[in-house]
């Protein structure tokens, strides 16, 4: 791979990050041998699948300057689609009872198609407008599944875990299978995003982020690039949705509600909106905090986990808007600069990636 000379200066950092990445990968690949079953089936599997959903959000924000709040809705749509397709018998929804693999394919296709429509409607908006429009998608999805009783209703669809393909098996008794499937999917998603942003499409998409007007005058179709990128993100989110359906077994309107939407945003912000790796870092931090702060009561204020995570979220947005990955970038930069080999690159600011509000 040939890199332009100005990027070579960061190679030391890249080497460090590759070493860390490989180390983490080896550890999680050996996961079931090292950590307890609870960590495998609950914390790490959940980290992988929420990381995938958050990666779709970060892909859009890092390379498109668009913060989408619809990603939780999209993964929920995939999980609902899967639930409606594969379950059978006396459960809520359409319970079509079709072949599990076909159900997976259809769930992904449906979600990607909906993502295309969502993306097309929002494609002329940027920045804060895009955020608001995607938030309305999220809330509309929540009310849709709550109110349209044919496909769900408020109690949601249960029993998805009994209709998994043979490869996945029973997620309850064979958690390791789902663990590795989620791990491999997460890895593939990561590689796919890394690949897409280097294709001519991905480069043009980043051009659209930096200067939509200029890209437009150069003959690129700005809204089409945004729409297709959103569709790609919806595809990624749908993978997370399918995994979630298998993992949780139940999908209910709450999975696409405002709470779930904000949780996914918090994951992405904790990890860092500027770098895709942050998705899994943020998911891990969020789930571990969620898991171990549940029973702690907040001093003075009272309240539950949400107050804690809200305060953490607030602190991160105030102190380091580009999250833990941004903190890491600046740390490495400071250390390397201290040795005289630093890169002149500025830390990724959420704000700089976003063109003038309005459209």
């Amino acid at each position: 791979m040939s890199r332009p000379t100005f990027l070579k200066r960061t190679s030391k950092k890249v080497a460090i990050e590759r070493a860390i990445g490989t180390g983490v990968l080896v550890i999680v690949a050996l996961g079931p041998l090292i950590v307890t079953d609870y960590w495998v089936s609950f914390i790490l599997t959940q980290t992988f699948l929420f990381g995938i959903a958050a990666a779709s959000l970060i892909f859009l924000s890092a390379y498109g300057g668009m913060i989408s709040l619809a990603q939780a809705a999209l993964y929920g749509i995939a999980a609902f689609a899967l639930g409606n397709m594969v379950t059978s018998g006396s459960v809520k929804g359409l319970h079509l009872g079709i072949d599990p693999w076909l159900g997976v394919v259809l769930a992904i296709v449906i979600t990607t198609a909906i993502g295309f429509v969502f993306g097309a409607v929002a494609s002329r908006s940027t920045g804060i407008y895009f955020l608001m429009i995607t938030l309305t998608y999220a809330v509309i999805a929540f009310y849709f599944f709550g109110q349209v009783t044919q496909v769900s209703g408020f109690s949601g669809i249960a029993g998805i875990q009994d209709h998994t393909p043979g490869l996945v098996g029973d997620p309850v008794t064979q958690p390791n299978r789902l663990y590795y499937i989620a791990l491999v999917t997460a890895l593939l998603v990561y590689l796919a995003i890394r690949y897409v942003v280097r294709t001519p499409f991905g480069i043009a998409f980043q051009g659209v982020r930096d200067d939509p007007v200029r890209m437009g005058s150069l003959g690129y179709n700005v809204s089409l690039h945004r729409t297709l990128a959103f569709t790609f993100a919806a595809f990624i989110a749908s993978l997370a949705g399918v995994l979630y359906g298998w993992w949780n077994g139940v999908v209910a309107p709450d999975n696409v509600g405002l709470g779930a939407t904000v949780d996914l945003l918090i994951i992405a912000v904790i990890g860092g909106l500027g770098r895709v790796e942050g998705a899994w870092l943020g998911a891990f931090a969020f789930i571990v905090i969620n898991n171990y702060v549940r029973d702690v009561s907040v001093p003075v204020l009272g309240g539950s986990f949400n107050t804690v995570i809200g305060l953490i979220f607030l602190a991160i947005v105030i102190v380091s808007p580009d999250g833990l990955m941004g903190l890491w970038d600046r740390l490495v930069q400071a250390v390397l600069r201290g040795r005289g080999g630093g890169s002149p690159q500025a830390p990724v600011e959420v704000q700089t990636a976003v063109p003038e509000a309005g459209s």
Binding site: M132, V139, I140, Y143, Q147, G310, L314, I318, V350, V354
Partner: protein, 345 residues
């Protein structure tokens, strides 16, 4: 689109009400309900729009302000009527026992809004996404705090749905002498309140000096401030007024339908749809957005055929209004991304 809607109104098979010609009173009631809802939507969304128009802050905690305002109004009314956590009957409530709780809620939320603006939003002006994230964090915290502490009565479970009561004098039906329609005076009062808020805002923004500064600030913040206007004071005032309007909306909604811990998300969505459809930062846009949203919402509940789509599973009560709302949003955005009255750029 409009044509087909009109067509359905005169034909309307398989619906709850039948066509408008067959039962004009149902049509009229749906229309009045829409105007009532539009008035309430306007009260809440105008605060949201005011804050955005001037400061470019999308206050994602607007729904939380409304929620907290509703609970504060409830607590005050309970205290004033010694309700002790039980539902207060409207016969126990006089006009002051409704107005004072609303004013207390407005004052409290205005104070909270001022605090938020000064502490969390003043130092990062211009970073609109960061500010939106800050207010989202705030909404998470407020929602959790409300569930943890409200209602304060030990007899009531924390986080329960509560409602305030209208004053007895307006909690009745009045015969309108049109097509035999009787309509709630309280709902007419909401319409009047909406009109009053709209007029007051219009007078304030278009006929006073502060309003002049606000309009100048909306057009060009830096130039206004360079001309020696202390724009920071105007920002603070606008945020206080916006937050107070959310609390007023919360007080009304607590009597109109009651508040519960999911009210914040519902009203954030409502405010967003109104301002996205109408155009951000414009009073007229907010009026138009509120009316359009309320009409589409209420008429799709009343006049969308329910019979055809209710066959599978024998399930009932499916409400497609949200789908129609999405269609409205998509149509407006497809043709006017800046909203009906919004200015591009």
């Amino acid at each position: 689109m409009v044509f087909s809607l009109v067509w359905i109104l005169f034909w309307a098979p398989n619906t709850n009400f039948g066509s408008a010609v067959d039962s004009p009173n149902q049509f009229l009631i749906t229309l009045l309900n829409s105007v009532t809802l539009a008035a309430l939507l306007f009260i809440v969304a105008s605060g949201f729009s005011l804050i955005f128009g001037l400061m470019r802050v999308v206050n994602m905690a607007h729904g939380s302000f409304l929620l907290l305002g509703g609970y504060i109004a409830y607590e005050m009314q309970q205290k004033m009527t010694s309700g002790g956590g039980l539902t207060v009957f409207s016969s126990q409530v006089n006009v002051w026992k409704w107005i004072v709780p609303a004013l207390v809620a407005m004052a409290a939320i205005a104070g909270l809004g001022l605090l938020v603006q000064q502490v969390l939003l003043r130092w990062n002006q211009g970073q609109d996404l960061r500010q939106a994230l800050i207010t989202i964090a705030l909404s998470v915290i407020i929602a959790d705090q409300v569930v943890a502490h409200f209602p304060t009565y030990s007899t009531v479970q924390k986080g329960s749905a509560v409602n305030t009561s209208w004053p007895g004098s307006i909690d009745r039906l009045v015969d309108l002498h049109v097509a035999g329609v009787s309509y709630s005076v309280a709902k007419l009062a909401i319409i009047a309140l909406g009109v009053a808020v709209g007029l007051a805002l219009w007078l304030w923004v278009y006929r006073t000096k502060t309003g002049m500064v606000i309009r100048a600030g909306v057009d060009d913040r830096q130039m206004t401030s360079a001309l020696g206007v202390n724009i920071q004071v105007t920002f603070a005032i606008a945020f206080v007024v916006g937050a107070a309007l959310a609390a007023l909306g919360g007080s009304v909604f607590a009597s109109y339908a009651g508040v519960n811990p999911t009210t914040d998300g519902q009203w954030l969505l409502n405010s967003l749809i109104v301002v996205i459809v109408g155009g951000l930062g414009s009073i007229f846009g907010t009026v138009a957005g509120a009316l359009l949203f309320a009409l589409v919402y209420n008429f799709s509940i009343a006049y969308l055929p329910t019979g055809i789509l209710q066959t599978t599973n024998g399930t009932c009560c499916t409400d497609y209004s949200i789908v129609v709302t999405f269609v409205l949003l998509a149509l407006v955005l497809a043709f006017r991304p800046q909203g009906l009255f919004g200015r591009p750029g």
